[in-house]
């Protein structure tokens, strides 16, 4: 028996960039996170060719879950000379050979920084959210040891105090993104910088959501059909952004989350934030054959 028969040929990098032990650890951590929804599970975040804080947590989970047949969709924002959806998508395709797509319906694995697609995700799909700050208690308790004790005791009174302060000072809840939400009635999590519009999409969803913070080395999950309830006062209902009446200037799509584009004359125009849905809407308007999936929101209202 020769040594060569016992070892693999040298390769410039492992499949999916990460080595097998790193992927094994992330798989185990993911299983723990799924078993205790919303609980932050620590893991040994590896180096990837991207600066920490730019989506390395999500990238590591994607690199772990990816197979040569996985269709990947990436949602991110950023300049072309830095990190954005295009560069992350290219990287994942290059290290795995997996096909990429922009269509939510075609994707098996969706890595996102700041949005959940407007089309409803299905049970075979996995959403990986890049989380810059996984600790929802950080604004109210800077000592992370105490914050962990507070999670253990479900001591979330100060999270509501934060909302109380916002209502007292501004007349309404000002938390625009990363809205703290109670998962499965036990742990409060921050659902990454998704807007308030997207948080209800996580509630009792059919798909698995994995949230990973590479810089902070924490991974947590929302398994399928799990309650995700934004923290609200009983007499101050949760409100999503008031975008129901806005229309996309390009596609004409209406009733979805919009990006505001300031105009030279001081006014604003709006473009649909889920740009692929915008493209589909334009193609549909142009009488092309295109499949638009069921959407979470209908006419600006979350479907029951």
């Amino acid at each position: 028996m020769s040594l060569k028969s016992l070892t693999r040929d040298w390769q410039p990098m492992s499949f999916g960039f990460l080595d097998a032990s790193a992927k094994r650890e992330i798989r185990r951590t993911s299983l723990k996170a799924i078993a205790v929804p919303g609980c932050q599970i620590p893991y040994a975040s590896r180096e990837v060719p991207m600066a920490r804080g730019w989506g390395t947590g999500g990238l590591q989970v994607s690199c772990t879950l990816i197979t040569p047949r996985t269709r990947i969709k990436v949602i991110d924002q950023g300049a072309d000379d830095s990190v954005n959806a295009a560069s992350i998508r290219r990287f994942l395709a290059r290290v795995s050979g997996a096909p990429t797509t922009m269509d939510t319906l075609e994707a098996d694995l969706i890595q996102s920084r700041h949005r959940i697609p407007e089309e409803v995700l299905q049970d075979h799909q996995v959403l990986v959210l890049q989380v810059p700050n996984p600790e929802p208690l950080r604004p109210v308790e800077p000592n992370m040891s105490l914050a962990r004790q507070m999670h253990a005791d479900a001591d979330y009174g100060r999270m509501w105090l934060q909302l109380y302060e916002q209502i007292v000072r501004s007349g309404r809840v000002m938390q625009g993104a990363s809205y703290p939400s109670l998962v499965n009635g036990r742990y409060v999590m921050t659902p990454s910088p998704i807007p308030r519009w997207d948080v209800p999409k996580l509630h009792m969803a059919r798909h698995l959501t994995l949230l990973s913070a590479g810089r902070e080395k924490r991974l947590f999950a929302v398994p399928p059909f799990t309650r995700v309830e934004p923290l609200v006062f009983e007499d101050v209902p949760y409100r999503v952004e008031d975008h129901a009446g806005l229309s996309c200037a390009r596609s004409g799509a209406r009733g979805f989350f919009m990006n505001e584009i300031p105009q030279a004359d001081g006014s604003s125009s709006y473009e649909i934030s889920d740009s692929e849905l915008g493209v589909k809407s334009i193609r549909q308007r142009d009488n092309e054959t295109v499949t638009i999936g069921d959407t979470w929101y209908k006419n600006g209202e979350m479907a029951g």
Binding site: L161, E165, I167, V168, R169, F233
Partner: protein, 266 residues
């Protein structure tokens, strides 16, 4: 006197609300409390006096379940406080303190979130106890601040923008917001000027008379204790050296240290 039982007035026939027995606590090799025992009856005010380092604040922190002593027991005669409270875990302590024990610290930084609104500081206590209605939080915070004679037009100002006396009133409002069975006061007027001291003491006295709140007040200022306390416990070097009715201790102190303390003048 290594072990002192603080006997309740004979006329009081109810069970003590608070009973602490043989509480001892050391920090490393330095003993802070040695077999300290005390009982406080419902509606009564117990004053604890002593020089700096005598262990009175440590004892108060033990009663607030912030510290776990090396030995001793502590019971409250309340339906949701069974057995020795020192044996409770962190979560049970927190819930009990949130509902039944209020505390006012000498240093407002210990008791208040200085950059949150004053009403928010009061609301926090209600939130910990599980209140989740904004309107109720607002109303109860307003009522507690009003009872503490805090100017309501400033109820949303953060404590960091308030004077020392106002900060103490916010602490007091926070402590009484849930109408606790026991109110602990750790040098509540120290650091305040004499006129503000008098106002805070008046508020405390009025609250005690109106609500019959059971209080334990710690101070090195005998004037404060004389104004508020029904009974007095004198501590020195972690021990209780004398205990009795306030008038009795102030007019006819028995222990040499108590005599020295009572007769001390600048």
């Amino acid at each position: 006197m290594s072990q002192t039982q603080l006997d309740a007035p004979r006329l009081v026939r109810t069970q003590p609300l608070l009973t602490a027995r043989n509480v001892s606590k050391s920090y490393g090799s330095v003993p802070a409390l040695r077999n300290v025992s005390a009982s406080v009856f419902p509606g009564e005010v117990l004053g604890i006096v002593g020089e700096s380092g005598s262990g009175k604040s440590t004892f108060l922190r033990c009663l607030n379940l912030e510290e776990t002593p090396d030995a001793g027991s502590y019971t409250l005669d309340l339906p949701d406080a069974d057995g020795n409270l020192f044996d409770l875990d962190r979560y049970a302590r927190r819930m009990l303190c949130a509902r039944q024990i209020g505390i006012v610290y000498q240093n407002p930084h210990l008791g208040l979130l200085m950059k949150h609104s004053s009403s928010g500081n009061v609301a926090e206590r209600l939130l910990v106890a599980g209140e989740r209605r904004f309107a109720v939080l607002r109303d109860k915070a307003r009522a507690a601040l009003e009872a503490s004679e805090f100017p309501l037009e400033r109820m949303d100002a953060p404590p960091i923008e308030l004077s020392g006396g106002m900060q103490q009133r916010v602490q007091l409002a926070k402590a009484i917001a849930l109408e606790p069975a026991l109110l602990l006061l750790d040098e509540p007027t120290t650091g305040l000027d004499v006129s503000v001291q008098a106002l805070v003491l008046d508020t405390l006295k009025r609250l005690q008379q109106e609500r019959r709140i059971t209080m334990v007040i710690v101070s090195h200022d005998l004037g404060v204790i004389r104004t508020l306390a029904d009974r007095v416990m004198v501590m020195r070097r972690g021990e209780v050296v004398e205990a009795g009715l306030a008038d009795q201790v102030f007019q006819d102190p028995q222990h040499a240290y108590s005599q020295q303390l009572v007769h001390a003048k600048l």
